[in-house]
Amino acid sequence: MIDAAHLWLIPALPLLAAGIGALTPRSGRRLASGAAIAAMAGAFLLSCLALQRALADPAAHLYANFTWFELGDGAVRLGWLLDPLNAFMCVMVTFVSLLIFIFSLGYMKEDANFKQFFCFLSLFAAAMLGVIVANSLLLLFISWELVGVASYLLIGFWFHKPAAAAAAKKAFLTTRIGDLGFLLGLVWLYDATGSLLLFDGGHGVLESGVLGDLATQVLASGLAVPTAISLLIFCGAAGKSGQFPLHVWLPDAMEGPTPVSALIHAATMVAAGVFLVARVFPLFAADQVLAAGPLHALTVVAAIGAITALLGAVIAVAQDDLKRVLAFSTVSQLGYMMLALGVGSWVGAIFHLLTHAFFKALLFLGAGSVIHAAHHEQDIRRLGGLSRSMRTTFVTFAVGMMALAGVPFVFSGFWSKEAILHAASEWDVSHLPFYATLIGVVLTAFYMTRLLCEVFRGAPRSPAAAHAHESPRVMTIPLAVLAIGAVALGFLGTPVWPWLQSRLTGTPIPARPLLEGGGLMGLSIVLVALGLGAGWALYGRRVRLTATAPDPLAAAAPRTWAFLGDRMKFDSLYAATLVRLNAFVAALADFLDRRVWGSAVGFLARFAEFTGVVNSEFDDGALNGGFNAASEDIRRTGRAYSRAQTGETHGYLRTLAIAFVALALLVLLGGVR
């Protein structure tokens, strides 16, 4: 039986594998990949044991804290936490990662930097697991940043491609903007409560005593302190989870190898933001007791989530790149999760996070299988007809697609999305997020149908697609396993048997009959059918014949299509504003240095030089006439010597020395201000 004190082993195993990977020579492909997969399998087993332990007493938060270093009279302490929330997360992350690692054996086979890839994958997994098992926001933040750097390395894995290098930088910097908010939130929380431990025998920041104290503090602006801290922490979550307006990095990050997209942009890194908010949910909810507050943190979370859910879905409709469709779909689905958090259903968010991890990893790996087979062709207009040549990939991809679209009853996405819709419909602050999710449901079903039809139906529209054949077993078996998960996982959290929900909260949740509130379920089924039907009508019935034929929607509304295809111009907008502002400040700082501060010093030097000349003329002429005559010989020798040896230096020394006396006088007499 594993306990909280042993929990560090779960991230430590992949970290060890990363170390082994880093130190093996380039030829040590088997060692590096073997170590990575073995470590991940070990971490998976440990996670299962941890889950078993956590489920033995789901209401408890088991933790083990330790001192990192002494600071002042106190100490900076870190710790590990075990409860159903992170145990479920650990099992999911290790399991999906394991499958992705195995898939990568096939996908990356030809790559010269194969062993490095597994080293980075392991580092990434270790950091992600660190985020999950941390019982301290500081430890969480440390792991969080390591997730950032590992994703930087993975997105830019093909670093010789300028686009990949730029995408990696963009991802790191965009998420760092959010992370700085997170950092400020942390130091504020630390200052206000004296701790960053989540649970610590009544003194942790998620425990009622501390939260109660915190909720009584109100800023001069009327904003409650927990609201402000939560919103700052939310900045970090929004950056990592690709929430509007920080979502711009996620589509670019598709430059990384496809297993990376499956790992980072489906199951783990982007889910970290959702996990973070769910983890510190009591903190976000602390201001709910203040009825009079101007703003509740969760309201902002819900609003951002709703905007992101809608935005991602709309943009996904008009993407022609296989992976970009999936990327924007991820943005949209993460919006759903944030929305669920914002309306108070963190359990619903985690349920969707877990199901989404499976079906989106499945979709990305399916896309990887297609891209691998089609010689890195990922433009859906140039694919087509792959359902015949890639049977397993097609079937599993279709499963993932239906799970994402929310095809009723059989697929997991249906149940988890249903939970979110249910929670959104009951939110008493506003109904707008609920309407946004309903529109999103139609759009999701629509763009996924489009994707499936374009890639797999019709005839191949490029030589690469025509020559595609099924990927090797090492790639298709992970697809099959994920497909099973994409179906089965949903049954853990149906209204009839809300096992997952009751385990996560630690309190039994009564089962509801399936048809209670059947109106909502009926509505969502109708909407899914609408989306699927529209998609079939436009792309399935009349399949695309050539790669250059315009999209039926593009023909109908070319400008809107182009606007959406250009991702609503967010990148251009940021380039025109933020990037330019940044360049301006940099130019200003440089100008100040060269022209203002530098010139001030230069001016002082000139001024002093002038004073020096006046002074020496005065000395030479009026005072030192006799002495000068006597020392003329020495001076001549000296002058000759100085000319031969150091050029101007001698004169400079004199004038500058005097310059400083002048500077002294100037500052002293002129005062400071």
Partner: protein
């Protein structure tokens, strides 16, 4: 105590080495290098010996040597070591041999180089250990002379001008310092830092200075302040720095940024703050803006640099400004009603960690710039390279670690100090911490730009042709630095354990006289 005069040995063994090198004019280059390295390593060995019997729980000075020196002026030969000085001596001991190694092959006239370098090393150590202004100032000024010649004789094409500006600007600052202490001596009859600190703590120092005349307390404070502000440097007294660091030979740049810039921070903490708690408190509000200027504008100016060494130099301005930001924030909050000792302890610990960690990572970055420069025939522009990671993956890896350490990635050394500084400053002056975040962002931006342009993309520029990966010598310099980055990032108590009781006693006695 009749034991070995350990501190004197720490200071004077490198000088003895310099004398020895001076007396052996026929010594060949390999033997000179070995001799210089050996004497340079003595600091580390002696410091580790001191570490064995150093008691961190004692907040006063240890290994004290105090002898009458010049009776007429009441001057004592007074050395002492506490957690703060120990940290800096350790840093000097670690970095100096690496700086010498960094210049191992590239430097002509190895004997003279080693001689000057040992002089510089000894002088820096003297600054960190002397407790009487008289010889402290001698060490302080003496450090400039070898530094000047090292820059002037082995530096780049602009070295004459840059070295010149460096020396004159710093001497200019020191002139004020000297004037200030002359006035202090006139008022109190003492030059002993320990005595003066106790006078400062009670406020008696201000009173005695006031007896000289109305403006003297302010003028003396200003003079001492200027001396240190130029040395660190505090924005906007930093304009000498980029040119100097860029033109100096690699090993000397490493020492300048790693050790000499710390002399200024040390002066702030050891001298200015204890002697003038009141005036510093009064001035700290505006000074926070100066520090923020360094943090933010320093980082943004780095973004505009195309010379990699200048870029790293600006990043040093940025990093050292965090130290001053923390110190000024502590000073602002001193004497306030709100108990802030926890935040102050965090800010001060962060400052000391930052001092040490910046020394490690900036030295490593300068070395990496030197590696690029030496492989590219003297070019070191941001746009002179491309795809170096394909050509030299091991170098890319180590340089990448140094870059990420410098931008404060957790798990590496830079993070702990910066986190503690932000945690402390937030508790003392929250708005300053918020503004300083801009500096963190800009730092990430320009360091990643450096990494992207030089290491990523297709091989281009100087990396298009043959480009050798690291040699054994390069490993000897970079591996210890990178190992320290990991070690101190994961186990910061190796350092904090040395000074935490000292910091705690400071943080718990934040009162104005």
């Amino acid at each position: 105590m009749n034991a070995l005069p350990l501190l004197s040995l720490i200071i004077f063994v490198p000088w003895a080495g310099a004398v020895l090198l001076a007396c052996l004019p026929r010594l060949g280059a390999p033997a000179s290098r070995a001799l210089a390295l050996g004497f340079s390593l003595s600091t580390l060995a002696l410091t580790l010996a001191a570490l064995g019997s150093f008691d961190p729980a004692t907040t006063g000075y240890q290994f004290v040597e105090r002898h009458d020196w010049i009776r007429a002026l009441h001057v004592h030969y007074h050395l002492g070591l506490d957690g703060l000085s120990l940290l800096l001596v350790l840093l000097t001991g670690l970095l100096s041999p690496l700086c010498l190694l960094a210049s191992w092959r590239t430097v002509a006239e190895a004997r003279f180089f080693g001689l000057l370098f040992l002089l510089l090393q000894g002088a820096a150590l003297g600054v960190f250990l002397a407790l009487d202004f008289f010889h402290w100032f001698i060490f302080w000024e003496l450090s400039l002379i070898p530094a000047y010649f090292l820059i002037r004789l082995w530096g780049g094409p602009g070295a004459a001008r840059a070295g010149y500006q460096f020396v004159i600007y710093t001497i200019g600052g020191s002139a004020f310092l000297l004037l200030g202490f002359a006035a202090i001596f006139a008022a109190t009859g003492s030059l002993d830092f320990v005595e003066l600190s106790s006078l400062g703590a009670t406020g008696a120092l201000g009173g005695k200075l006031a007896s000289l005349g109305g403006i003297w307390p302010q003028a003396v404070f200003l003079g001492v302040f200027l001396g240190f502000a130029v040395k660190v440097p505090l924005f906007p007294f930093h304009t000498w720095l980029p040119a100097t660091y860029a033109e100096a030979p690699t090993g000397v740049s490493m020492f300048l940024t790693g050790v000499m810039s710390k002399m200024g921070v040390y002066g702030f903490i050891r001298v200015l703050w204890p002697l003038f708690p009141g005036p510093l408190h009064a001035a700290a509000g505006p000074l926070l803006w100066f520090a923020l200027g360094g943090v933010v504008l320093g980082a943004f100016a780095a973004m505009r640099q195309t010379d990699l060494k200048r870029m790293i130099a600006y990043s040093s301005v940025n990093h050292l400004s965090y130290c001053l930001l923390a110190l000024f924030a502590v000073s602002v909050a001193t004497g306030s009603s709100r108990p802030a000792s926890e935040a102050a302890a965090a800010a001060l610990s962060g400052t000391l960690l930052q001092v040490f960690n910046h020394g490690i990572s900036a030295a490593a970055l300068f070395y990496c710039a030197g590696v690029l420069e030496s492989r590219a025939g003297g070019r070191r522009g941001l746009n002179d390279f491309g795809g170096v990671r394909s050509a030299a993956p091991v170098f890319a890896g180590l340089c990448g670690i140094a870059l990420f350490a410098s931008l404060g990635l957790p798990g590496l050394n830079g993070f702990v100090g910066e986190f503690l500084i932000f945690r402390g400053v937030w508790g003392l002056a929250p708005w300053a911490a918020a503004v300083a975040c801009l500096g963190l962002f800009a730092t990430a931006w320009f360091l990643l730009t450096f990494w992207q342009r030089v290491f990523h993309g297709p091989r281009a520029g100087a990396a298009a042709g043959p480009f050798a990966d690291l040699s054994g010598l390069d490993f000897a310099v970079l591996v210890p630095l990178v190992a320290l980055m990991f070690l101190l990032g994961v186990l910061p108590h190796l350092l904090t354990g040395l000074f935490n009781p000292l910091i705690t006693s400071w943080a718990n006695h934040l009162v104005l006289p």
